[in-house]
Structures are given as C-alpha cells and as structure tokens.
C-alpha cells in the first residue's frame, strides 16, 4: 500500500510535465502553424518515449543510484514533497525546475534518514546546473552568429522555409530531451529502489506525460501560440536549439539539468549578440534567486518531514 505513495507522486509529476512541457517543446511550432496541435502532441509523445528508452539510463542512474541510497520512505517523502511543490508552483505561477526540486528533496530526505548521500555527485549535479545555462548561452550565441553568416544570406522566402524546418527539428530535440532527461529524473528513483522495472516504468511515465499533454497542454500552447507572433523566429530557434543541444550534451554525461534554465541561457546568449542592454538584468536576478530557492526549499521540507516521521 505504501508503494502507492511514490508511484502516485511520480504519476502526478509526469502528468505535470506533459501539461507544461509540450508548450516548451512545440508551442512555437504550433503558434507558427508549422504543425497542428494534435500532430504536435503525438510527435511530442513519440519522442518522449524514444528519449527515455534510448538515452534515459544514465540520468536515471545518477538520480536513483549514485546520489542517494534510495529506499521506499525516502522516495515517498521526496517525491511527495516534489509533487506538492511543483503543483503549488504551477498554481501560483512561480517557475520551479522539476529537476532541482526532485534532487533537493531526495538529498534532504536522504540526509535526514541517515543513509549514504554522495555529496560528490550532488556537487557534480549542482555544478552542472551552474554550467548548463552558460553552455546554452554560448551555444545559442555561436548558433546565432553562424546563422547570420549562412542562412541570413539566402533569399527571404527560402529563409522562411528553412526556419520552419529548423523550428520543427528544435521542437523534436526538446521533446526527446524531455524523455531522456526530465522524465528519467522522475522515474530513476522508482527503478533503482526496485519498485518497478526500467522498461515498464519508462513506458508508464511516458504514458502519463502524454496524457498530461493531451488533457491539459492545449491552453498553455494557445497562450504561447498567441504570444509567438511578436517573437523573432530566427533568434527563437537559435535560443531553443542551443538549449536543446546543451541538454542533450548533459544527458550524455548523465546529469539531470533543467531545459527551462538552458532556454533562459540560450535567450540571454542571443540577446547578448545584440548588446548587453537587451538582456533584462532584473529578470536574470529573479531567476538566479529562484535557482537557489527551489532546491533549498525542497531540501529543507523533505529533511524536516523525514525527521518528524522518522
């Protein structure tokens, strides 16, 4: 019966990823009319499954095995705290990174339970959170400059056509990363605690991401789709694809990192190519504050609850 708690939390988080992250991946393509909503959701679902099955193993191992010696109570508390924090942050419209919340909760619950917590691995993960937006920043900057020297020289209507294809590729890459990195972070503890086998856990996780996308992503996508008319697709692609490449690189290393923070890094990189003044420093400061707040809050809450229960 107690096994149901972490499973329910996993399902909730996966459902939340589906409802929010479909827009991260394919909102721009839908807004631009590159692909229709239903096809986009189907495509998103397919690449999430591919991502977790082909490349999710390393991130699963980092989160579920190398960081904390996970057991059922730790997982129940960590994932429940994560699910509640993620739902609350969505409700209050505060952007919290799913990765940071889960890693913070697992570490907090692990320390409180007195099990072996690998601080070296925790340090590696925190360092990857620090480095990944910078990598995305430079990748997007390089990509933007390269595009200015190549695609920009073509005729207008050819640029328009190429951008459509590139935006779709970028969306597919982000969808793939959602499976290979984000979903792998959630199901990793469930697999390595012996609660479920890898393949069924991956498929069930993907199913709930897909359900979240089918049932709740429409409104978020419509908002992004309406907002996109004012965006410049040239820089938008450079930022999104730069972030996608960065997440894929860290997935190869087995590091659970946030796509959102990488996209912010990518946008700043493109913005920087047009001058320092185009980057809103106030917003960057708020994001940095949030970056500290999310894992710290998750760590402290899980630590306290674990201490109280234990």
């Amino acid at each position: 019966m107690t096994e149901l708690i972490p499973l329910a939390a996993c399902v909730l988080i996966a459902f939340g990823i589906g409802s929010n992250d479909t827009s991260n991946a394919l909102g721009i393509c839908i807004g631009c009319g590159v692909i229709r909503l239903q096809r986009a959701i189907l495509l998103f679902g397919c690449f999430v499954v591919l991502g977790i099955l082909l490349q999710g193993q390393k991130v699963m191992q980092t989160v579920g095995k190398n960081l904390v010696d996970v057991n059922l109570p730790i997982m129940s508390i960590a994932l429940s705290v994560s699910a509640i924090l993620i739902i609350l942050s969505n409700w209050k419209k505060l952007p919290l990174s799913t990765h940071q919340v889960i890693i913070g909760s697992l570490a907090g619950a692990g320390v409180a339970a007195g099990v072996a917590v690998s601080f070296l691995n925790l340090l590696k993960i925190v360092l990857s959170w620090l480095i990944s937006p910078l990598v995305a920043f430079f990748t997007a900057l390089f990509l933007y400059r390269a595009m200015e020297k190549t695609i920009s020289k073509l005729s207008l209507f050819r640029i328009e056509r190429i951008l459509r294809v590139l935006l779709l590729l970028s969306g597919i890459l982000i969808s793939y990363n959602t499976g290979a990195n984000e979903l792998a972070t959630i199901v990793g503890p469930a697999i390595h605690s012996g609660l479920m086998e890898r393949t069924p856990a991956s498929l069930i996780g993907s199913l709930f991401v897909f359900l979240g996308a089918v049932l709740l992503s429409r409104r978020v996508i419509e908002t992004i789709g309406k907002g996109i008319t004012t965006l410049d697709p040239f820089s938008g692609f450079a930022a999104q694809f730069g972030a996608g490449i960065c997440v894929l690189f860290f997935t190869f290393l087995g590091m659970p990192i946030s796509t959102t923070y990488c996209i912010i890094g990518g946008i700043s990189g493109v913005g920087m190519s047009k001058g320092m003044k185009t980057v809103k420093m106030d917003l960057i400061r708020k994001i940095i504050a949030n970056w500290f707040l999310a894992p710290t809050l998750a760590f402290l809450l899980s630590y306290l609850i674990m201490k109280i229960i234990a």
């Binding site: 631009c32 009319g33 050819r158 056509r161 459509r164 996109i228 008319t229 697709p233």
Partner: protein, 210 residues
C-alpha cells in the same frame, strides 16, 4: 519532397504568385492610364476600374490565404500591410481616372505634358516594384531597386512643385473645374508616394527574418 520542404509550401507559393499578379495588374493599370492620358482615349481609361476590381479580389484571396496559415506569423502582418499599400495605389489611380473622365479627358496644354510625365514615372515605379518583389526570391540586392523607386518619387515631387505653380497661374472655367484639376494632380502625384511606401515595406519584410 526536399524541394517542398526547403523551397516553399503550396500555400506560400500560391500567395507569392498572387502578390506578383497583384503588382503586375498595377503595372497594367498604370499603363492604361498613361495611354488614356496621352491618346485621350476613354476606352483605355475604363480598363483602370476594371483592373482595380480584379486586384481587389486578388487582395482578398491573398489576405485570406495568409490568415489560413501561409508564412510564419512574424511575416504575416507585414505582407498583408504591403498588399494593402499596393491596393491603395490602385485606389488613387482609380480616383485619378475618375476625375480625368469627369473633366472630359482634356487638360490644359500647360499642365498636360507634366501630367503625362508623372503618369510615365508612376508606370516605371510600378515596374520597378515588381522587379523589387522578385528580388525576394533571389540573391539580387533589394536596396538598389528601392533606391531607384525613391529617385523616381523625388522626380515626381519636383514636377509636382512646377505643376502647382503652373496651375496657380492658369485660369479656370469655374470653381468645380478648378477643384477637379486640383484633385486630379493630387491623386496622380499621390500614387508615387504610395508605391514608395510599398517599396519601404518590401525592405522591412526582407530584413525581418534576418
């Protein structure tokens, strides 16, 4: 398959063909107007409102196709604005043709020559607008074409100053005759301004995705 993916979808091709046709019709209408003015031929003048109606219908088709999903949203509003500006050039040409018909196609000799010169510049500008539009598909420099349009427009402005001076020294039969002549010159010289605006919008469209 690759041709379709990288060199344009069906919707976009249809829209660009229609925009091209829209500008071609403007050129034909400007040619009809110039001939009517030169030869004092009423039949030639009637083709201007006919062509305006045809162009109006094409404009509606272009705007509908764009809002049905042709082109990236970032381009759509600028393309629509460009088509509307070209449509405004049709409107002014039709206004000028209508006034010319009302004055019985006869202008005072002092001003007739200048009006024909302006009509000729308008014709050349519409031709240059078509060439400028075609550069959006190739590697030619659009700036050269927009510069040529600006030069034509400046020449029309200079002629306009002389024309107004001549008109102020001309005796008119009555108030309405004077008003119609004044309106005719206003409409005729406005066409070049509108074509210049259209070429500016082409420039905006061209740089908007870079």
């Amino acid at each position: 398959m690759l041709e379709k993916v990288f060199f344009g979808g069906k919707k976009e091709q249809q829209v660009t063909e229609k925009i091209r046709r829209h500008i071609e019709i403007l050129h034909t209408a400007a040619e009809c107007f110039k001939k009517a003015l030169e030869e004092r031929d009423k039949e030639q003048l009637y083709c201007v409102p006919d062509l305006e109606r045809e162009a109006d219908s094409i404009r509606r088709e272009i705007v509908s196709a764009i809002y049905e999903g042709a082109f990236l949203p970032y381009l759509r509003s600028n393309i629509c604005r460009f088509v509307e500006i070209v449509e405004e050039a049709f409107d002014r040409l039709e206004d000028a043709a209508s006034v010319l018909e009302n004055v019985g196609l006869s202008l005072d000799k002092e001003i007739e020559e200048d009006c024909i010169t302006i009509a000729d510049k308008n014709l050349k500008m519409s031709e240059m607008l078509l060439i400028a539009f075609d550069t959006l598909f190739g590697k030619d420099d659009l700036r050269e074409k927009t510069l040529a349009i600006r030069i034509y427009e400046k020449q029309v402005d200079e002629i306009k100053v002389d024309l107004i001076k001549k008109m102020s020294e001309t005796e008119v039969k009555n108030f309405w005759h004077g008003k119609m002549l004044s309106d005719f010159v206003s409409f005729l010289t406005r066409i070049s301004d509108v074509i210049e605006d259209a070429s500016d919008y082409l420039h905006i469209i061209n740089i908007s995705l870079r």
